[in-house]
Symmetry: C2
Subunit: 589 residues, 2 copies
């Protein structure tokens, strides 16, 4: 049977909980006017004098304000690995605010509390709420704390929805938004799971239309079933196999009235029973419904209309095995943000852990560091962030591309690696927007460390996430030879940018010709041609003349070109198809 919030988890950390009763009437998105709304929250770290180091963390469906321990004697927080002194969200630097959401049962006004108008439990009379209402309540708290602008709003799952909604509703009150395992709306599949969970609760004979607080029994079975189902969707197929296959027929000995077969069965029974002790069925209905109805639009165009002129920095992170909030949803939102001309980074973290990944240590080296790089750079953005890099540290290829780039403000580097080219470019394009794409997350992490917006993407996959003419210049440096569909990527570069700069090795450079002609061997050189025939990532072997002919056939305009000998670091004017080992082209369509 459900125990009221005084008896459950929140009681254990209640000494840290603060309460703020919102003095004014709140008009909810349904039109309902809510009075006496009280918000429970906790804070970590110290708000600086300028009050510009505050950050709001938003919790998921079953979470609470206790995001982290306040000290060693404190009970565990739900995101201790992420938030705390020296952690990825460093409470030595940031003043972290975490509040319980409206409609929950962990302190903030919700169905398990007394409605002051009737002096009865709210129960099923609790008004339908939306993510927007949750965010409205949080904004009142931020105001109360005297904070004009947050560094960021950060959250995962339902928390990600709140962060995203902050960006839409109060863009002037935050500098940035971080969404982990979020997206633009749920899939029909995910909604279906929520519906079954709500049906299990509402059709439990002890639901009593939601007014079970004074009864002997409450809809525990329904809530436990909903929670069991939730747990399957939080894990991935792989992580469930990893967790339960080895002792498939050896269930843990749990005290339960649910089925006791299979190790996964005992896990579900335990999770279901435990949840009933600490969560309120009405809150589950209210919150899951708010989640199901969060919908920024059915496609990137309709979504982007809600995102225009926010002038925020966004960082979206998805997890490859998350099927509750699949990567495609974050990609759709990223695409819409690009269309709305917002500054956005998006990274898909390869993970076995499913939706829960953002709460687990397994992949924190990626998602933790990316978030940490992002929020730290926002915080120091007023400082001089010019690169300390010396032009001499650039590769010859990059040095030459740089000459072509000067004058461009908005630049995308496709295959940016550690971001050193863009980092150097930063010196010249104050106020411009940069983006680095790479599919190597370790390299890309270096780029994010340099404060460059990043996008994890395989250049051979779909580039339609990036809008038309979003950039002045697109760069593809020494990468064309490893691309599957050459025509497609060149078309895409010309679509997303006014001009495209690309460099590639010339396969007709005379030592390569000689190698095949005289020795009868697959040509090989150094640098990007420094592989053996059987292990090279290259798959396109073109000469400068091949490329020129290709452009002419495909109606691609060559605006400029340079041919180089990278050994002598000299330009080649004559017989370039013979004497140059590198071609650099500016093209457009």
């Amino acid at each position: 049977m459900y125990k009221s919030s005084d008896e459950n988890r929140s009681n254990q950390f209640s000494k840290h909980i603060k309460h703020y009763k919102i003095p004014e009437l709140l008009t909810l998105s349904s039109g309902y006017e809510l009075s006496d709304c009280e918000i429970s929250y906790e804070t970590y770290g110290i708000l600086n004098k300028e009050k510009n180091n505050a950050l709001l963390v938003c919790h998921a469906i079953s979470g609470d304000s206790h995001v982290a321990k306040h000290d060693d004697s404190d009970i565990e927080g739900w995101w201790d690995i992420f938030v705390g002194p020296g952690k990825y969200i460093d409470t030595n630097k940031f003043f972290v605010i975490s509040s319980n959401v409206l409609g929950s049962c962990m302190g903030t006004t919700g169905p398990n509390q007394i409605n002051s108008a009737t002096n009865k439990y709210w129960g099923a009379d609790f008004p339908e709420i939306s993510i927007s209402d949750m965010v409205l309540v949080q904004s009142k708290l931020i105001e109360h704390l005297g904070i004009k602008k947050l560094v960021s709003v950060v959250g995962g799952s339902l928390g990600a929805y709140q962060a995203i909604q902050w960006g839409i509703q109060f863009p002037e009150k935050t500098q940035s938004v971080v969404s982990l395992a979020g997206g633009s709306r749920l899939t029909s599949q995910s909604i279906a799971f929520d519906i079954i969970g709500r049906n299990a609760i509402r059709r439990d004979p002890y639901f009593y239309g939601g007014q079970y607080y004074d009864k002997e029994e409450s809809p525990d079975t329904g809530l436990a079933l909903a929670r069991m189902l939730g747990h399957i969707t939080y894990l991935s197929q792989q992580s469930m196999s990893d967790k339960f296959d080895d002792d498939r027929y050896e269930p843990k000995d749990v005290d339960t009235n649910f089925e006791k077969q299979f190790s996964v069965g005992s896990y579900l029974a335990y999770q279901g029973d435990k949840f009933v002790e600490r969560f309120d069925p009405n809150s589950y209905i209210v919150l899951s419904q708010a989640m199901d109805k969060f919908d920024l639009g059915e496609n990137s165009i309709s979504i982007s209309n809600k995102l225009k002129n926010k002038n925020l920095k966004w960082f979206l992170i998805s997890f490859s095995s998350d099927w509750l909030f699949p990567t495609s949803l974050s990609q759709e939102l990223t695409k819409a943000l690009f269309m709305a001309k917002e500054q956005v980074s998006f990274v898909e973290v390869p993970s076995n852990c499913g939706h829960d990944a953002f709460l687990l240590e397994d992949d924190i080296d990626y998602y933790g560091k990316y978030v940490s790089n992002f929020i730290e750079h926002i915080f120091i953005e007023d400082e001089n962030t010019n690169s300390k890099q010396n032009k001499k540290s650039l590769s010859f290829d990059h040095e030459l591309i740089l000459d072509f780039v000067i004058g461009s403000k908005n630049i995308i580097d496709m295959g940016c690696g550690d971001g050193s080219l863009l980092d150097y470019i930063k010196n010249y394009n104050q106020g411009g927007s940069l983006l680095g794409i790479d599919n190597n997350l370790d390299e890309l992490l270096h780029a994010s460390q340099k404060g460059i917006p990043v996008l994890s993407l395989d250049l051979n996959s779909d580039l339609s996430i990036i809008g038309d003419k979003q950039f002045d210049t697109a760069i593809l440096s020494l990468t064309l030879q490893a691309i599957d569909n050459v025509e497609k990527i060149l078309n895409e570069m010309c679509r997303i940018a006014d001009k495209a700069i690309l460099s590639f090795p010339n396969f007709a450079y005379y030592p390569l010709r000689n190698m095949l002609y005289e020795e009868g061997r697959a040509p090989k050189s150094k640098g990007v041609l420094g592989y053996e025939w059987y292990n090279t990532p290259n798959k396109r072997y073109m000469s400068i003349v091949d490329f020129e002919e290709f452009c002419s056939e495909k109606k691609i305009k060559i605006i400029n070109s340079r041919f180089l000998n990278s050994n002598t670091r000299e330009f080649v004017q004559e017989e370039y198809n013979y004497k140059a080992d590198l071609g650099i082209f500016i093209i457009s369509k």
Copy 2:
């Protein structure tokens, strides 16, 4: 409320149902002795005089004996698209038997029937049954019909388990097994869904410990919830989006006590309510439990131990978006069958339809034709199946490989295309085993039409599905130049076969040399080199000498080699790296 079988669907096709009461006591796998077991079944087509054209079709969890219409006036069968006159399982040729499984509620003995020993409904006293028990009951029916050996046992989902179990339990009574959307056992994720379904039924207050038949109420809510959940797992994420996204907020107007929000909600409510009308909660528990406990082993080694010396032909089909019985399960079983030296074909059908794909028309052009090719070839296997192909119709490359193959019995062609080489080889290796691999399902379908066992697999992916030294000879014809990991595939060829034969274009053939040297252009020729630099599937450009050096470095033995000029169709002895355009090697490790 559940209606007994007389009132439901089975009543509508009951005029075609036949009944057989098994005279003897059946000892179930649990040790329970079941008396008076009665099996309901239907038959289609005519049993020939030799009684060798019979085929058993097995149904999934909610199915029945009514696999297809008997005539135009008949009600719909559950597999009308697949079974019938002129259909993929052609009842003009085959005598098709379809029976209701033990433990179901559609006619065969199950919990909703009267236990003759107590004169009460079986209810929860119905013994726990296994897939093996279902198959035992079916075998009694086959015996009763005077059939010594079936052409095949065919089934999908729970039906696939029955087909596979037939192969294990009664290998002498069938020539082959066809498994659609099956596997070696369920994933922990799939078991978890079943557990929640059973918990919903058993914890429904109207379950009355399973003895609800005489009560006013039955556990309808629990069964409906279980069915709703089932329906999510039968579809894919993509197919649910396709089905429900367009009218997400426009639920159908269904008469239900379940949630009415969202179009997917009205679908689930409708499916849940409808199921309660025709299915028995106890049967759902009994059958889902049997499914969860079907387990051939945790890995291919343990599975293969159960599959040895069956001497059957197996055909496994999985569907790419099926996450209830994912492809990996069929692959594991395929691997085990290879290890057990059974003849096995496996095809993964690309599909958006999820687990339900095997019941739907969307992908039937693949799965229907593959199954049809397979069973027809089994039926005519005694006929002379020698290829009518003329040696002259073979390509020059194949003609030469053929010389190297003579004497080999067990041959795998990696990248077999339409199977013409293997088809020709058939003439010479009576009693040997052949296998064609390709990732092009349309080409592979032609191979299956020729009666060649097939395996749909990308050669760049994992080949570990095939066991060590399974074949005498592995062939890789004109494909090496398009392989990602050359070293891996050569090692794999040497692992799975005693010797490997491979042919590839010589990149140092003099016209190619000249093209690069004199013209400064990416070399191009005809055949596999007949692409442009920007669209060629090739990614490895090696000369004969490159390959020879590679073998020497990697300790690969070259047993034999031939160098050819395919224009003149002559062997090249001298200056082969210059004058030959094709190399053929036999290698081993």
